[in-house]
């Protein structure tokens, strides 16, 4: 049992590293194809995960693993929409109009700003599509408006943090401060149950102990 859990954890870490690399590639190379980067990293990590779990070659299992990391396919989709410069300029104008003086100065200097949520905590919103909301403990949230420019997404996140943060959080993926995907950590026990559960031991044979005086032939 513990061997299985360790292997699953190891696979999860390797998957995490692959996706982090993909994210780094996306941020570092402006005109690269981030979707392909995600796909490549995801496939490589899935392959390794499958190898560790001994399920290579079974398409159904691969689909199940892909479901766990489905966000990796969805995350970059918004990058391809909303690149219209006019739309971005309009969205940025609206964002700046809605920021207060300090937030506007921070945004102009570093393309990010801090927001105090109605839950009393401070969050940082950065000008990028994925995992761009950072919480007070370093955790990151990825809740997108994929059909709008990034600047609109930042405005939406700001307004929701200020007025309805739960709506943002419940629809976001969360990356814990230690760099692990919370959904993945939560999925490990399920993966164990579904994929590497040991064969259950057979039931012990039933034994009936009749009183000796009820057995025929015995007095």
């Amino acid at each position: 049992m513990w061997t299985g859990a360790v292997l699953a954890a190891q696979a999860a870490v390797e998957h995490e590293q692959g996706l982090r690399q993909a994210l780094a590639n996306q941020q570092g190379i402006q005109n690269a194809d981030p979707y392909a980067a995600y796909q490549n990293a995801g496939q490589a990590a899935n392959g390794r995960l499958g190898e560790l779990l001994g399920i290579n070659g079974n398409p159904a299992d691969v689909v199940r693993i892909d479901t766990l990391f489905g966000w990796a396919m969805l995350a970059p989709m918004g990058t391809f929409i909303s690149e219209n410069p006019e739309a971005k300029a309009k969205a940025e104008k609206l964002l700046l109009d809605q920021l207060d003086k300090a937030q506007r100065a921070e945004y102009k200097e570093s393309q990010q700003f801090h927001v105090k949520s109605c839950n009393g905590k401070m969050y940082k919103i950065t000008r990028k599509r994925s995992f761009n909301v950072t919480g007070p403990k370093g955790e990151c949230y990825c809740g997108q408006t994929p059909d709008t420019p990034i600047e609109d997404q930042m405005l939406a996140q700001k307004l929701l943090l200020e007025h309805d943060p739960e709506r943002l959080f419940k629809n976001s993926n969360k990356l814990a401060a230690n760099g692990m995907y919370e959904a993945l950590i939560n999925a490990i026990p399920t993966m164990y149950d579904e994929i590497i559960r040991p064969t259950p031991e057979p039931d012990p044979p039933r034994r009936f102990n009749f009183p000796i005086n009820l057995v025929p032939g015995h007095e």
Binding site: N84, K90, Q98, G143, T145, D147, S172, N173
Partner: protein, 78 residues
Amino acid sequence: MKKIRILDKTGDTEIDFDDSEVTAEARELAQAAFEKAQKGGTAILTKRAGGAPDKVIRSFGEIEDQAEAIFIPAIVAG
């Protein structure tokens, strides 16, 4: 005059309206957009008169004169 801004792929779509007949068509459009925004999205009233704080609105009638209602589409986990 009341104003709504719908966040979309163009940046935002702005609709101005009031209670007069002249803006009846715009008002209908705004109401339809509001109902759409309520399905998974959020509408927040900003720039309210007298510096009143922003607030989430749940009904179309809550949109105030001189204020801007921003319609946020549904948030999708990325």
